[in-house]
Point group: C2
Chain length 322, copies 2
DNA sequence: GGAGAAATGCTCGTTAGGAGTATAAGTAGA
DNA sequence: TCTACTTATACTCCTAACGAGCATTTCTCC
């Protein structure tokens, strides 16, 4: 939570109901996610910024403000919206004392008819911003670069205690030293790389080790961090709440469902166990239709049982291990 | 998420980077929790309001702003702070068009030397606001009143579909019809009671059924809802992150730990299984000291192993069933 | 010295979930 | 038409996690 630079000392005089409440600009930022062709996509403006806009008095509420203008931009209804995090930046824009409060949201939407590539807004594969987060083919291609960079950073620690600490944090976040990869630690990994100065945004913090920058596109301001937050939240959420369905078409096959979960988690799962899980939770029902196979035996087309939401405090789509 | 009244229609003209960003007052609200004498307490101002204050330019960040003035008020360090939710209310204070954005936080602190009762601020048992949430002695005393009220509300539904829906929501939230009580659904329960007009705050919404109001103290504005949010979050969190320790003294016995968990969850747990869980997770270590028993065989005094935080992506204190 | 209260140790049975084997039913191409 | 390949679907096995009890130990208080 140490996202804000610690510039000023703490103040003591703010039992300040005395002077009138100060006013600040409030901004809404959306991380809008869809899945197409087995890739999770995120909606960007100009390729490297998240859509964002001011919260206005005319808006009915924060959420509807967000909904309104996102739908206007994408011309698609957003099924699911949830608040992510609110933060305040001193740095941002307008000099001295200016302050903006940003409220970020995660939104899920269906795969939509393709929008022209290069257009604004544009859907981008979220792994183009976080290549190391995709481990569906095993360790990603950037892994060696990343490991080298982190090792250099660990080694560059002045005292042994600090070195030990860095070592441990890396081990947990990246699954070094026989630890397992935890797909939910997206934000921790990003923050480590940031601290280690291994990503372009960090070109001012942390003693440079001279190590090269990790592949993976940067984003405007701290939008990449916000995306990391969204990814972490979504990866956690699909395990205990059936939100994946917001990303799928009305009817789908179990494999499609599985591929979507895998795309989000960045991990492959055991097919048979995945099906068992879905079935025993009664999450889907047959439509009677059969999928025109892409190869292999045709699969039943199923649909999400919305009723399940009402029936019980729904456990959710757990995902089995690879 | 339908907390804001739907007054105005959605607006369409807000691709509005054009006109200058509008400015709004930003408020910080704290739900500060402690446990003493096996009761969870929440810090109130004037007995029925949560501490809150404006976010000011002088504050280093949102979190430190909160920390600053809460510590100033309570004269105690807060070990743990996490953001809860941000909302905007049209209604609140200064008429027409005035709008305030409120950012709520959950804070955990140690049991402190008692503050005089009746003082401001004052620590209050959180079950005095939510009597139905304490099921450590089995169903609470208010349960019959509550059940009657809800049944009346269900019956008052115009068409059968609506009736059926209400029935189901109650069954899930309150564990009617042989469903089990889920201690995490604090907010859902509150919202149902609100909708049913069974609590004082709701004295304007929903067709009154004439049923009496449920016992349980109301709070200023929507503070009771925020407290519900905090309770839900905390009850969920203690199951997968070792945050209970923030509420305990430096050294403690396993029973003390258990009682604290039970106090928060509002449920009793199986003692032996609870110990097994704690032990196999290596969450605590012996201090060598022995507790001067209150009755019964003396217990080992243990302390929380802070190291655990670093060692692994810590699973957390799971709690066994009653 | 007996009763009561807690601490602590151990067992048992069920279930969730990880992993693998086997078989069925399509498509694409030789 | 036959073969290879791909995917769907059904079962089996095994282990760890966890809910539920029983039993024993070690105190304090009558």
């Amino acid at each position: 939570m140490s996202r804000e630079p610690s510039v000023l000392p703490a103040v003591q005089d703010h039992a300040a109901e005395a002077h009138a409440a100060e006013v600040l600009a409030v901004n809404l930022i959306a991380v809008l996610v869809a899945v197409s062709e087995d890739q999770p996509r995120v909606l960007t403006i100009g390729g490297s910024a998240l859509p964002s806009g001011p919260f206005e008095l005319a808006h009915r509420s924060l959420q509807s403000g967000l909904r309104d203008w996102v739908e206007q931009q994408t011309h698609h209804p957003i099924g699911y919206v949830e608040q992510l995090y609110t933060f305040a930046d001193r740095d941002r824009g307008g000099g001295e004392g200016a302050r903006m409060v940003s409220i970020s949201y995660l939104g899920l939407t269906r795969e939509r008819p393709a929008v022209a590539v290069g257009a604004t807004p544009e859907w981008r594969d979220w792994y183009s911003f976080f290549p190391w987060e995709d481990r569906r083919q095993g360790a990603s291609a950037v892994e060696p670069t990343l490991k080298t960079g982190l090792r250099a950073w660990i080694a560059s620690a002045a005292d042994p205690a600090l070195r030990r600490e860095r070592e441990q944090r890396c081990a947990i976040a990246f699954g070094f030293d026989s630890q397992v990869w935890n797909e939910e630690l997206v934000l921790q990994r990003y923050e480590l790389l940031f601290e280690a100065g291994l990503i372009p945004e960090a070109r001012h913090a942390a003693p440079q080790t001279g190590a090269q920058t990790i592949p993976g596109q940067a984003m405007t301001g701290d939008h990449r961090r916000i995306l990391a937050t969204a990814m972490a939240r979504l990866r956690a959420k699909i395990k205990y709440r059936p939100v994946v369905f917001e990303l799928l078409p009305e009817t789908f096959t179990l494999l499609q469902l599985q591929r979507s979960v895998e795309a989000l988690a960045g991990l492959l799962v055991h097919k048979q166990n995945f099906r068992r899980l879905i079935e025993q939770q009664n999450l889907v029902e047959d439509t009677g239709a059969i999928a025109t196979a892409t190869g292999g035996r045709p699969a039943k087309l199923v649909r999400f049982r919305r009723a399940i939401q009402a029936e019980r405090a729904v456990a959710g789509t757990k995902l089995p291990r690879p």
